[in-house]
Symmetry: none
């Protein structure tokens, strides 16, 4: 369900967060769907429950999840107007693009990269839709 990469410098709890955020934003997990319990995830991934707890807590703060005491955590959906996050992302994006341009990377190459990302994203959405149809 979620892939951890221990060699990545990104902290484990961030990897868990990213994994779930992705599943939610891509629609793989639907609104009000229940997430695995902290203990279950922890034993699945063979990591400390505290790490999962932190991931869930922060995702809740960001608006992706909601928790019901004693019952578990559930998908809340994609928080609208996460504009602060967008600004952050655009800032990082701009810095990277600027330096890449200075390093003689072609504008075309960069845009192609975006297009490729976009295509993959579409494909994923389509295959998800198809499997949903099949399930009907």
């Amino acid at each position: 369900m979620i892939q951890l990469n221990y060699r990545d410098s990104k902290p484990i709890y961030e990897q868990v967060k990213d994994g779930f955020r992705r599943l939610i934003v891509q629609g793989v997990m639907e609104v009000d769907e229940k997430l695995p319990s902290v203990r279950e995830m922890a034993s699945n991934l063979a990591i400390n429950p505290n790490t999962i707890q932190r991931a869930y807590r922060e995702l809740e703060q960001e608006g992706y999840l909601y928790a019901v005491a004693g019952r578990g955590s559930f998908v809340a959906g994609v928080p609208e107007a996460d504009s602060a996050r967008k600004e952050e992302l655009f800032a990082a994006f701009d810095a990277a693009v600027e330096e890449l341009l200075y390093l003689q990377v072609e504008e075309r190459e960069i845009c192609q990269r975006v297009a490729e990302k976009y295509r993959k994203l579409q494909d994923k959405a389509k295959s998800k839709a198809r499997s949903a149809e099949a399930a009907d």
Copy 2:
């Protein structure tokens, strides 16, 4: 010369590195130009000399600087084939783009942003060329 942001989670030595790398890559600092001494830079930015030293040392390892004990640190130029740096930049780029796409930002908007950056870069180059002509 270099702007530090203490609120940023990016370590200070990284901010210093990025600042000088930018000056070098953009040609603001010329090859063999002397950098401020470690101590001078440290007192300018009001941080510890060790922190500057680390920034300089790593830039030297990456090939942007060379240091001569007893003389100072100097610009070496933009290391050819700094593929590691490009990979870093593309990784940052990809991560940002992916999340932006998930946040419903249009592919077009992103590419326009790249184009805009590119135009500005061209303008800068042109005005630089013009001022060089004027100097002749």
Copy 3:
């Protein structure tokens, strides 16, 4: 595990680096094997933790290690295409050979020395293979 020589002009952190690089390159330490923690190593060698940290950090940058905050440092393996390292070694090699030749050391003597090293290496590999067979 690692021998320090305080009389050597080579910095301590370099000696530590060389020691671990050797253990890794020779296969004495296996991939994903955990290294002693920074603090442990420091107290073992009776030197400052910062010195060990620097050694580990640079080995990580070179691709020999990977570090996970909160877990420890682990062997990543011998970085493929560590051409920089080979260049370093060849440079050291060339400098030594050149001066030896000037000092009237025969070409034959030098090559014999290489051959001897090579033979020892082969013997080690063989005995290792044999003990592996025995283990089967």
Copy 4:
């Protein structure tokens, strides 16, 4: 006469020493030949006289030069039995070869490298002999 490389991490005085040692050991400078004065060398190379002074002083200690107060420094020849130096060199040589072998560099490649060095050395000696003949 002597090439300085400011980008090299080797200290200037070492580069000067190496340069003269090489000229002496290769026979380009003959025994009892006078070296340029400290001031002359310093202004030629555009460096501090102290740096030249140090190079001359250490070469004298190593036995390559002798100084006559008020007259200058002269070539003493190649000091015999610099066996301590040879041991140092062999140690560095062994370490480099060992790691190169572990890094899958062929024994042949290493020996060829030695042979090449040797050939170049011979060529230099020959061309020197030829130019000496021509001068007769």
